[in-house]
């Protein structure tokens, strides 16, 4: 890759955004990812056959992550720095769908051809509980010490032996002031009759349900099935009367920018990412609170190269490298010292409240309570019925 020290990553991203529409941008990113994969395959081929091939395979780390969750340089930099060939695939679009793909092979102990997979807290917890993961080799991961204090110990993985966060994010309310005609502050704004047919919510149960529960004065960190039933009844009522237009993954972003919808239950990083094209779009943590989640790197139990996976994690846990990733995917870094590094390469972004979250917002962030299997099934049943799935 060419050196482009003269531009900051933030400026580059803005340039790319200006030059391409979001869809093209997505397409090119996918192409770039495909190019990486091909490039690595080509490298493998070049390193000779027989024993050489086995050696090349042993030096290849395979990663599955969510789309638009990394910058264009980190993978190449990592390859150059460590000599480890990297196949980075953006094939995680939905926790449940990805689980449906890997469940059977992992149950049978077969390889899924991945050494790192990135899944949200509750799904990461499910995989760990099912025994589908293996411990991260601690000796190959000294930078784990950089993990921010709030995330070092989580209920689903005490001591973080099997998982480390790739990134954290907030689910709150995104809106287009041009369409709403006013600023929003509260979960109740989602149900304002003025926005009938102009509202979308996320299909990610914990984010949507958590937010609606907080609007009802319930705490998603300590909720009951009864709380879920009430919140789901409300969602169902507003879906059936046409107030809620749809339930989405990342795709609400385009509708929000196009003005088809006014308000969306939205992820902070998406709105920040769209800001280059649509400076008007806003994201807020409602006064009642917003949801905090992390997506976690895990090593599948069938991976035969955990030390390479740990090497990649270690690389990404250097503050400067994490800052480079955050500059392109503006979520919350779980790595200490990233803010200072980000200020050096992308000062504007570093001062954004969506990346450098103010204390009063942090105080309002909630993590959805850990659901046991029976609860999870009941919550899901209620929620799927509410969203008409």
């Amino acid at each position: 890759m060419t050196k482009r020290d003269t531009y900051s990553e933030q400026e580059l991203t803005a340039m790319v955004h200006r030059a391409l529409s979001r869809r093209q941008f997505l397409g090119r990113t996918a192409l770039a990812a495909g190019g990486l994969t091909l490039g690595s395959a080509f490298l493998n081929a070049c390193q000779g056959k027989d024993a050489g091939q086995a050696a090349a395979a042993a030096k290849t780390v395979r990663i599955s992550n969510w789309p638009l969750y990394i910058d264009q340089k980190t993978v190449a930099d990592f390859e150059a720095a460590t000599g480890i060939t990297t196949v980075y695939t953006e094939d995680v679009n939905d926790n449940n769908e990805f689980f449906a793909k890997i469940d059977e092979p992992l149950k049978r102990g077969q390889s899924i051809d991945r050494d790192i997979i990135v899944l949200t807290d509750w799904m990461a917890g499910r995989l760990i509980k099912l025994g589908y993961t293996q411990p991260i080799p601690a000796d190959k991961f000294p930078n784990k010490a950089n993990l921010v204090d709030g995330l070092t110990n989580v209920g689903f993985d005490p001591g973080r032996l099997h998982s480390v966060p790739w990134m954290s994010g907030m689910a709150g309310i995104g809106y287009n002031p041009k369409v709403t005609g006013r600023e929003l502050t509260s979960v109740a704004d989602l149900f304002d009759p003025k926005f009938k047919g102009k509202i979308t919510m996320l299909t990610e149960m914990r984010d949507t349900l958590g937010l609606v529960m907080m609007g009802e004065g319930k705490d998603p960190a300590a909720c009951t099935v009864e709380d879920a039933r009430l919140a789901c009844a409300k969602i169902k009522q507003y879906r059936e009367n046409g107030h809620i237009r749809g339930f989405t993954g990342n795709d609400y972003a385009e509708d929000l920018a196009a003005g088809n919808i006014a308000v969306a239950v939205a992820w902070s990083g998406d709105i920040q990412g769209l800001a280059a094209d649509n400076p008007d779009l806003r994201w807020i943590a409602p006064t009642e609170g917003a949801m905090l989640y992390s997506d976690n790197m895990l090593i599948p139990k069938t991976s035969d190269r955990p030390e390479l996976a740990a090497a990649f994690m270690d690389y990404c846990y250097t503050p400067a490298h994490s800052a480079q990733i955050i500059a392109a995917a503006p979520y919350l870094s779980p790595v200490k010292g990233t803010a200072e590094e980000l200020a050096k390469i992308a000062p504007t972004l570093a001062s954004s409240p969506l990346v450098n979250v103010p204390a009063d917002v942090t105080a309002r962030l909630k993590v959805f309570k850990w659901l046991d299997d029976a609860e999870d099934q009941e919550f899901n049943r209620l929620f799927q019925d509410a969203i008409g799935a």
Partner: protein, 281 residues
């Protein structure tokens, strides 16, 4: 005919079986076995009532089932109404532009289904020119928009499946001997009568094939409802996809697939019988 077949048999009686063997093996591997697996899944794990999935298919998802058939039927009607005149013009009136026009019918296939449906999202934007024009004419549905309404879903289905209606109708019209209409005219039929008594009946196999090629996939489609509809327009295809991938209730999803398959088969047989074209082949 019988004589020729017998002659073939005398030469090598096994040859026909050998010729169909790859097709039969393919069908067994990729149709019969998956269908049996699906059937096994649909009756659920041992211990549970086997009909549970089937019961819920009607009690919980009867609405979606009705919707799927309703939307697919509406789209098929639209496709035949739009497709028949178009096929007629291409077959009878297009002269040297025939191949060019046929090329235009096939042109959309050069872009994927998904991208074309996404394009409709842009066209039907709330602030877009289509919605604004309709708003000026006071023709908008009660929701005050087109995107994420039943109209967008039926429109999307019709748009996506229209070529599948046009092509079979075109083929059946093309096959009609022109001298038959001339004969009808000689026998004092005017143009309308000649069409009604000669062209239309002879093109019915095409209409049947075209409407089935539209109706069957449209019933199971979920892309249009997912992208152009709201949750209140969800079709059975979306439910099956969601149950398989999100909720992971495999017995229910498999039962829903079977219910859809059986109902479609029954409807298709009834339709073919009603149109009297069992000898369609």
């Amino acid at each position: 005919m019988a004589g020729t077949a017998a002659g073939g048999n005398r030469r090598n009686p096994i040859a026909p079986y050998l010729l169909v063997a790859p097709g039969i093996l393919w069908l067994i591997a990729f149709y019969v076995i998956p269908t049996l697996t699906l059937a096994r899944t649909s009756v659920g794990p041992e211990g549970a009532a086997w009909y549970d999935g089937y019961q819920r298919a009607f009690t919980d998802y009867g609405v979606h089932l009705g919707r799927s058939f309703g939307y697919a039927f509406a789209a098929t009607v639209v496709c035949v109404l739009l497709g028949y005149p178009l096929a007629y013009v291409i077959a009878f009136r297009s002269g040297r532009y025939k191949n060019f026009l046929l090329g235009l019918v096939i042109l959309p296939f050069f872009t994927t289904f998904l991208v074309r449906t996404f394009a409709w999202k842009t066209i039907l934007n709330d602030g877009g020119i289509v919605v604004q024009t309709l708003a000026t004419l006071h023709l908008l549905p009660e929701e005050g928009r087109l995107l994420n309404t039943v109209w967008a879903v039926i429109g999307g289905l019709s748009y996506n499946f229209l070529p599948f209606t046009i092509l079979p109708i075109y083929v059946s019209l093309e096959k009609i001997d022109r001298r038959l209409t001339e004969a009808a005219n000689d026998l004092y039929c005017n143009a309308g009568q000649a069409f009604r008594k000669v062209v239309l009946p002879l093109s019915m196999p095409g209409v049947l094939a075209g409407s089935m090629l539209t109706f069957i996939p449209a019933t199971g489609d979920f892309i249009n409802a997912e992208l152009l509809g709201s949750p209140n327009q969800k079709m059975l295809g979306s439910v099956i996809q969601g149950q398989f991938l999100q909720v992971r209730d495999y017995p229910l999803a498999a039962a829903l697939s079977f219910v859809l398959m059986v109902i479609i088969t029954i409807m298709v047989l009834a339709y073919a019988r009603a149109l009297g074209t069992e000898d369609l082949a």
